[in-house]
Symmetry: D2
Subunit: 390 residues, 4 copies
């Protein structure tokens, strides 16, 4: 079954219907062919030629599992750093993963954008805002500050920095070293649903925003466990988290705590040897962004997870350790920085394995982001763990 | 299933980047061209070549405003009734609107499906279920019963019949006349977000389901204003409305009431001469379906609405009366049954005008459905009424 | 206002502790007596002398089951109509049920107020508003209009009229007959939690509010099943229902439908022969008032309900038919108009029985209101059906 | 107007009505007196004799402002430690504040319980559970572990330990020193609303629960800022916070951060020199307990707050520093450990003042708990800041 219409809009009706001889199709007769010509003329398409593609028994993603090697990405980003200016026009030196079966679009999955962003010493990425919900995640390096609503936020290895739609933001590299990180956004989702707005901000951020504090104002207000400022009434924040940085020291400790609890015989992990935390909005406990879920997973040395299928897609980046990842029919050995996608309803599992570049613990740490909040908000989420639907 | 760039995957990378000379693009140099070859090889796409399309200042829909004439639709549907069987395979004799700029896909807008469905005397459309949220709306005729969860629901002119995802349903024409109606679903949205499941039901519905009651069981339980059955605990219904039919007599009266209140000097209409009701879930007050909003609008004779822009798209069908509709740069005279689409962020306004086929009142009644619940759930909704953003 | 221990504050400490000899109390010694004198002096009370009363194994209500006969209430109300003026000062000619074990306070239960209100021909009850959430229920008669926010609302047998806190309201009797009805409010709850505000309105309502329309404006906007006015954005109404009258014809039909469905073999009733509807806010599906639940129950001739215990208390009024009611250790024969209370965690059951004053159907119709929304909002609700806790 | 009926239930009807001569009361006539006899006989009370008390223009609390000195409380608690055993029967060595105008009941306010609890070296308070929502707050000392659901939780100066209803809990003093702390519960609220259940647990906790870890399992799972364990699905926790301890080091730092932000010119404090954090449920962002709000306030040296009136009542304990507190018409100098109550709608303000026992910073730290969640859940909350109602 093919959709196959492409660019016929030039030569006539964009609708092209071909009466075909098939078990589940009406018999090809002159009457049918005349009917199809009528459909084309009126810009109509019958369900019966499309139903297999449009209404499959389960999600069959247009995306495919794919792996990008961090080493190659970083090298190309560094090359871009030398020859492509940052600034108005492109706004950012961001280079996006393009899923091989999504038509060459810069879409990691049908809903998610994932890109490496690169900033040279002393460079600024200018201020702008957009309705696309975004975050940064740092797999290596430090020295860039993201300035969100005039609040400078440091970026260091392991930090997660969410940025809900329509907040003005800029980046500046305050050091003598280039720095790379990962951007995640819901650009493809907003592109297909057509909700996006964009605005330029100031050409230059002020000197006051060029300071480089250890902790952002957001962290000083919202980064204390279980404590909220009384000055922020419930419902007054958002959409999205008011906490602009989730620091690695907390994430690391939370994961270590879960594995230690498991070792002591208590609940807390997702499965044996599999710890995981979700970055959440401290004002609501909900996902950190309205359309994007972000999590850090730690799989203990030698442990492996059971295959899980979920509606919606994910992008993973290996933060530390090495292991073997299986997505659908693909299996890869992965190591620090590598990125891969899990399309909708493809079974996913991972095994942690000792490797040359291993961390001390031998655990495999995986950063994950997904479009799950979209599915849950619309009651379209479904999960199957080794044959058990939830 | 194949995607539209299938062939590229055979001959090489699906990513094709062309270094172009433009004000906001990096200078074309051998180094840039080499960089772009590296991107292609690694399946990467830079933001700076795509940002204008992906991140526009405001939504620029890939869909265009378009009008389909009911007279032509019905004639083609009747023709299909003669030669295309209903049943397993196609499952339904449904013929969908294909927006002329969406590549020939049966998508009225990037998120919404709208089709005319046609059932011959005595015919059955077999039982199935799917996660796609659906409804029927009847612009003319009667005689078909939709059987949802074994509950037969009559369909008559003006009735609105929602059907949340994953409910088994069938249709049967209990009369000696063919009948046509409109189906609305979120098929394109679920197609692009990849959430869809589908299951066949029984091949034949039972005799007990072939009875033709005036009121469905759903209406007898949930169709009393402000009253809910105590047997249904809050939270036990849904997703979507447990009320399976919204009858025209109630909709008509509610609209008439609003205009009468306005005439008496009281609030209630949306604007001068413009009454509107939203079909809602009586168990929650929310939209009737998680992804689809449905409303009936009545514009009094001679009245006109102010242009409104909204994120997300709508499909309208003229239920009664005639008038002039303006969507973006298109203006059409419309009359009973005509269907048209309003793409995201295109200004929409309507004027009611006396015409040859007018109803007694001279009012223009418009059925509307949209994807607004998606945008509201994800905090992406925005509305502009003649320059005032809300 | 004085509290019941006013006098103690004059002569000494309001705290009086007596060291007693008991199995679960500390041994009475001079040291203990000295300790208790210290407690008294510092206004302290030890938990160990109070725990049995304060923290019982299950709710032991201070209220007792009690029955009030409608015949006597109406006669006394009529007598009051002759000699007690309505108007500023008393504001209303309302006479409240006083649970015999609540200290003579006009409290039907620890949280609920129930009163008969009586208006003579041509009389007005003046306009005021208060934070207490209120409703009217009409067991007999008609001819009074309640004017809520200048919207006149007719009152007739079987009608339920909610009125959320802080809405201005007045009543006027537009006929030549006196009329009685029931008021329900959360006065005791707001009295003990100390949340109440009160304001006088205009001394006289206007002529425009003295009209006597069949349907109120509220009903014309909100009284259509499953339909909401688009002009009222979600979240813009409330607290409490915007629908100011729930008419008997709808309630009666909904109950009859449930019993008919049961007879046809379908779900819908609460239990065998036991139909029930809850008055709900059409804008949210939630309880009609933030602190008060209201329902109409119909028990078919000869049917009986299983004993149920619930946290929180209820007041019932027999609307039609006759039967036998059991509350805790009390059993009464009841008939039209009779009122009784079910204290917290007292088992309640009812049997419908043919009686002299029976309705045609022989069913027993019971109007009920309760404080359940308070318990559910605070996660304190618990229910036990014949030994099964839910 | 007096309510004043008390224990007349022995001698006859609990209702006693006296016809009185007053401007707003009906004229005293034999007919009125006969009517009132009829009311008494039928257990009825007219609104017109009660309205001033029941429906005041604004809340007039039965409670009065009152102050308890910590020094005296601790001394009496220590005395009780010597002579009153802990264990089954009393269950706890808890001594409650009794508001002087609440009839000698152990109620700090009409809804809140506040008590000092005292545990001798090596003592255990046995395991039990109850629907009353509770917390502990430690103004001085350490060495006791609260065991909640078998999870031992350390208690140290400044720590806040919430414990939602129906969780089994015990306490044990693992040291050679006695320890005192404050218990807060909603006992009076549940007493008047009659929702309370109680169950004994095991007589002895196990050895495994006698370990004395620095951090509880709850903290290891939920005590990381903005991070939630993926193993705990949204909605799977509660009611109330899964985080069983909020440590002083975090609270102190959050308050210091707010004042530092203010000094730098940024928002974050409630008012000038007035920092405040709310203890919140990390799974939802809501109040830490369904019926109880808990906060820590810091008023910088020399700063003072504006008078605020709120529906509902609060109990405060001075955690550190000294100052002057004004509640209604009362003004007190307060210092570490002192407790006082703010009844509903009484204006409250505080000024920080240097005193002999001052902390280094000179700031006044106030722990507060209140019944605000009850009012907000039921839409009964109202606040007035110096004449401005919110």
């Amino acid at each position: 079954m093919t959709s196959s219409i492409a660019s016929d809009t030039v030569t006539g009706s964009p609708v092209r219907l071909q009466a075909v001889s098939a078990a589940d199709q009406p018999e090809v007769t002159p009457a049918l062919e005349e009917l199809y010509r009528g459909f084309e003329q009126e810009l109509l398409v019958p369900l019966w030629t499309e139903i297999g593609d449009l209404m499959p028994a389960h999600p069959r993603s247009r995306a495919v599992p794919h792996l990008w090697r961090w080493e190659r990405l970083r090298a190309l980003a560094a090359q871009a750093g030398e020859i492509v200016p940052v600034g108005r026009g492109g706004e950012r030196r961001a280079i996006a993963l393009a899923n091989p079966s999504l038509g060459g679009r810069p879409f990691a999955t049908p809903t998610l954008w994932a890109a490496i962003q690169y900033l040279m010493p002393g460079e600024d990425a200018p201020e702008h805002r957009h309705t696309q919900h975004a975050f940064r995640f740092v797999v290596e390096g430090e020295g860039v500050w993201t300035v969100v609503g005039r609040d400078p936020v440091a970026m260091r290895r392991g930090d997660f920095l969410p940025q809900a739609g329509w907040n003005m933001h800029a980046h500046h590299n305050a050091t003598a070293e280039p720095m790379a990180w990962i951007d995640g956004l819901d650009i493809p989702f907003q592109y297909t649903s057509e909700a996006q707005f964009f605005e330029f901000g100031r050409d230059e951020i002020s000197d006051a925003e060029r300071i480089t504090p250890e902790r952002s104002r957001a962290e000083r207000l919202w980064g204390h466990p279980g404590l909220r400022p009384v000055s922020a009434a419930p419902g007054s924040t958002g959409p999205g988290s008011p906490l602009l940085a989730y620091r690695w020291e907390h994430t690391d400790r939370a994961l270590a705590d879960q594995l230690a609890l498991e070792a002591e015989g208590f609940a807390g992990t997702v499965g044996p040897g599999h710890a995981a935390v979700r970055f959440s909005d401290p004002a609501t406990g909900a996902d950190v962004l309205p359309t994007v879920r972000a999590e850090m997973h730690r799989v203990a040395r030698g442990a492996e997870t059971v295959p899980v299928k979920e509606t919606g897609s994910s992008v993973y980046q290996v933060f530390d350790g090495s292991g073997t990842v299986t997505v659908g029919e693909k299996t890869w050995s992965v190591t620090r920085g590598d990125l891969f996608v899990v399309p909708s309803w493809q079974p996913f599992s991972v095994r942690s394995e000792a490797g040359a570049t291993d961390s001390d613990s031998g655990a495999l740490d995986l950063f994950r982001f997904s479009d799950s909040p979209i599915f849950e908000a619309l009651r379209l989420d479904r999960t199957e763990v080794e044959g058990t639907t939830r």
